[in-house]
Symmetry: C2
Subunit: 221 residues, 2 copies
DNA sequence: TCCACAATTCAACGACAACTCAATTAAAAC
DNA sequence: GTTTTAATTGAGTTGTCGTTGAATTGTGGA
């Protein structure tokens, strides 16, 4: 969970004059507000989803007027897009998973790489934002859908040289998305508390089977 | 998807006097509004999640004044709770899955029963409501969490007589939740379009392994 | 030095949020 | 038939939403 001081702590440029009022006009020195806004947005979107996070609350967290958000990002949509921009580096993920080490450890490397995204401070917030928002915000759902299908799983499945790479890819996606939902969002039972290595050990065989194992009758019969 | 005339169609009791206005006071005959509200609420919550669905929009869909919702359900929270109430009948699910037919087909029966919930008109809306809202609304997340862990998966895992039933249960939950997310919410790739039987054939072995197979080293070594 | 521009806040807009209260009409209980 | 209770809307409260335009203050280039 985030520390009690929250996402503020970067925007302490503006000294306030009595009554919470801040001096208008540009501040001296380098500008930090844009970055502060992005960080606050990631936290809010990660905790409350797209609809539940308000521009004003984000601005407040960032220690900034709400209008500044529109100055930088034009709209709430724009802020959301920017806040999850480059959360997902497909090349990096694909590289980490394939890594030239042959096909046998693919399942394990896939879970491990995926879980790592959920442990890093910044990437975890972005992942939470995407998943939480994807459940009810179409733009987020589209981002998630296209990223998963086009940029990570299809390449992975294709390089394994098996049949029906798209089916294999979506099956693997279902297990990974479900893992994220149950471990990090809904926080179900032992899955939410098990050490990372145990989770990897349990789930990796499933992914390995989806990616390189035999598919049931309707497919390869 | 829902028909264009939407969730109305039941509340046609109130004839309107000119200008969209409706006569005040109680309507003659039996009262259908409560039911109409619940149906409209299920649709709205299913499509937009808790935060994205407004009481006014639901009232509008139901052809009813917004105040009537508060009269019946006291608050939006109350409406939400009522709208997903008895969506999940644990006994029925457990019965359908265990069904006295021994342990070998448990995985398959579990997926099949789960998918059936997502195909029925009413239950699908309730499932969508719960999952969409659970992603960002704590009350929904709690409902989902407790239902999954306490009322379905633990009993199922316990009756299989294997070690670590809670770990097995949460692993199975992760696959099922992920399946619902990818097939019905985010609609990823082939999973969203595959016929039900194919999905069952692909996923059942995973559940069977989680529930009755060998767990990896950290658990049974 | 002057000028274009970027950063920043204030004040407000119109829309809509959840919710309340009183009035009106019908059903149910007596 | 009278009284109580339930259903229903209208009008309104209070608050928040995303967004805008003008005003102010700093930065950087000519």
């Amino acid at each position: 969970m985030s520390a009690p001081h929250g996402a503020e702590g970067s925007g302490e440029v503006a000294e306030d004059l009595g009554g919470g009022r801040k001096r208008t006009g540009r501040r001296p020195g380098v500008t930090l507000s844009r970055h502060a806004i992005l960080q606050a947005a990631r936290s809010r979107f990660a905790e409350h989803g797209y609809a539940g996070a308000s521009v004003r609350a984000i601005a407040n967290d960032a220690g900034v007027d709400a209008a500044l958000i529109h100055h930088f990002f034009l709209s709430k949509e724009g802020l959301f897009a920017a806040s999850i921009h480059d959360a997902l580096h497909p090349e990096a993920v694909v590289e980490a998973v394939l890594g030239g080490k042959g096909v046998r450890g693919t399942g394990e490397r896939l879970v491990r790489t995926f879980l790592a995204l959920w442990e890093g401070e910044t990437t975890a917030r972005q992942m939470r934002s995407i998943l939480r928002s994807a459940a009810s915000h179409e733009a987020a759902a589209r981002i998630l859908r296209e990223f998963i299908t086009q940029e990570v799983l299809v390449p992975i499945a294709r390089t394994t040289g098996r049949t029906h790479p798209d089916v294999r890819a979506s099956l693997a996606a279902s297990q990974l998305v479900g893992l994220a939902m149950t471990r990090y969002i809904v926080e179900i039972g032992p899955l939410a508390t098990l050490p990372q290595d145990d989770v990897v050990a349990c789930v990796a065989p499933t992914l390995q089977r989806y990616l390189t194992g035999a598919l049931p009758a309707p497919f390869d019969a």
